[in-house]
Subunit: 120 residues, 2 copies
Amino acid sequence: MPRAATTSDAFNAVAEPRRREILNFLALQERPVGDIVDSLNLEQPSVSKHLRVLRQTGLVNVRRDGRRMLYRTNAEAIRPLYEWTSTFERFWRHQLSRIKKRAEAKEDDGPESDPIYKGE
Amino acid sequence: MPRAATTSDAFNAVAEPRRREILNFLALQERPVGDIVDSLNLEQPSVSKHLRVLRQTGLVNVRRDGRRMLYRTNAEAIRPLYEWTSTFERFWRHQLSRIKKRAEAKEDDGPESDPIYKGE
DNA sequence: ATAATACATTCCCATATAGGAATACGTCAA
DNA sequence: TTGACGTATTCCTATATGGGAATGTATTAT
C-alpha cells in the first residue's frame, strides 16, 4: 500500500510546506489565486493544484468573484491537528528539565544518525 | 518532484495514522517493539519501519535493554506542529459564530464535492 | 557453540504525488 | 462575437512510499 493520498485528511494535506504557506497567507482574509502566485512565488498551475487539495480536505473555502476565485483558510479544519498535538503539551513540559541536562552534556546535533547496528 | 520524504520533518512523519497511534502509545512510558506490535495489531516489520521514520525525525528516542529496544515519544519534536496549528486558534474562535449560521441552514455534508466547473 | 528471542532491513510492487509544459474552461470587456 | 483574463485540468515523469514476505543481526539462554 502506497502512502495515503494528500486529500485523505488535514494531516496529509498540511505535510506539504507550500500548502502551509498558502494557509498562512489565506488566514487573515480571502484572496484571489493570483495574489498567492505573486506572494509565494509559485507557478499558477502549482497553486491551483495545491488549492484543490486544500479544498478537498476542507482547509479552504472558495467563492467566485467575477472571473476570480477568492480563497480563504477554514481554520476549523485545522483544529483536529491542534487537538492531537495538544495532547502532548504536558509531556514536553515535563521532559524539558530532564532532557536539558543530557543535552548540555552531550551537545548532540540532529535527531539520529541511525546507527542501530554496528555491523557493516 | 515527488512528495517530500516522510522523514523530511515532523509534519510528514505524523501524516501516517499508524505513526500517530504509535506516538500516542509511547507517550506515557517507554515500551519495547513487541508491545506496540501486540497493542496496535500490526506486523512487526511494519512497526520497525514506522519506528525508523519516527527516529529519523526525532519523534522518538530509543534505548537498548538486553535484546529489547525501548522506545519513547519525544514530545518536544511535536511542538513545531502544535505551534503552527496554534496560530489558527484565534481564527476558528472567530469563525464559529459566522459558520454556524450557514451550517444550520444548509446542513451540508463533507467538505467539497469539487464542482468548480459546470461543463462536462 | 547453538538455539531461541527480539528487532531491523531488504526486496518487490502498486500507487500517489509535485512540478513543468501545454491546454481547456468560465467570465467579463469591447 | 471575439478576445483577454484568471483559473483549473491534463499529460508526463521521477521519486517515495507502506505492506507483505523473507532474511539479516544482536543478545541472551542452554
